[in-house]
């Protein structure tokens, strides 16, 4: 029974990892491509960690697997957000026009001007 769970987790995890890699190669622009390793690869690694913990079955391995999963789930969105914001500010083009662009600098007179007090 545990063997069946383990092999199912291996198949599902490898499927999501493969989807992430194909998405990195095939999606049209950077803002699409950053989604693939952030979400699909994290889910795939969650299943692979589950499979490894089921295969070994020691308490130490379960603890380290849960720790690694928590760490990945906490850091992958942060890294993707920082990278995406840096790409937006660097002017990386997108494939289609962005409909809702909340990072766009405003042009009105209430706009806080960028401070020129660079010492």
């Amino acid at each position: 029974m545990i063997e069946a769970f383990k092999l199912t987790a291996v198949v599902v995890g490898v499927f999501f990892m493969a989807v992430a890699s194909i998405g990195v190669l095939r999606l049209p622009d950077f803002y699409h491509r950053i989604h693939a390793p952030t979400k699909a690869a994290t889910l795939g690694l969650a299943f692979l960690l589950l499979a490894a913990a089921l295969a070994v079955g020691e308490a130490v391995v379960w603890t380290k697997a849960v720790l690694a999963l928590l760490f990945l789930a906490a850091t992958a969105p942060v890294g993707a957000h920082l990278l995406c914001r840096a790409a937006y500010r660097a002017g990386v083009p997108s494939a289609k026009a962005i409909e809702l662009d909340e990072y766009r600098p405003h042009d009105g007179e209430h706009t806080p001007q960028p401070s020129s007090s660079e010492s």
Binding site: M17, G44, L45, A51, A52, A68, L82, V92
Partner: protein
Amino acid sequence: METYLIVVAQGVLGIGIVLCGIRAVRGPSAFDRVMAFDCIALNVVGVVLLDSIVQRTGAYMDMVLVVALLGFLGTISFAAYLEGSLVD
């Protein structure tokens, strides 16, 4: 049976590493390259986990944690460097 399936799974992850490598070579911007190397690190972690299933040892879990930590640190530092907030 199980060993064959895991070897095939490792082959699939290896193909994924090759696909991310193509994106890292072709990528139009430096951000694509950083993202592709991050994805390569996650695929390497997957291969190591599958190897630990074959050998039934928990000795590789530390390496999983370390590679995940280093991948995150690399992504963060490259994002800060490319954004220009490290220059000051």
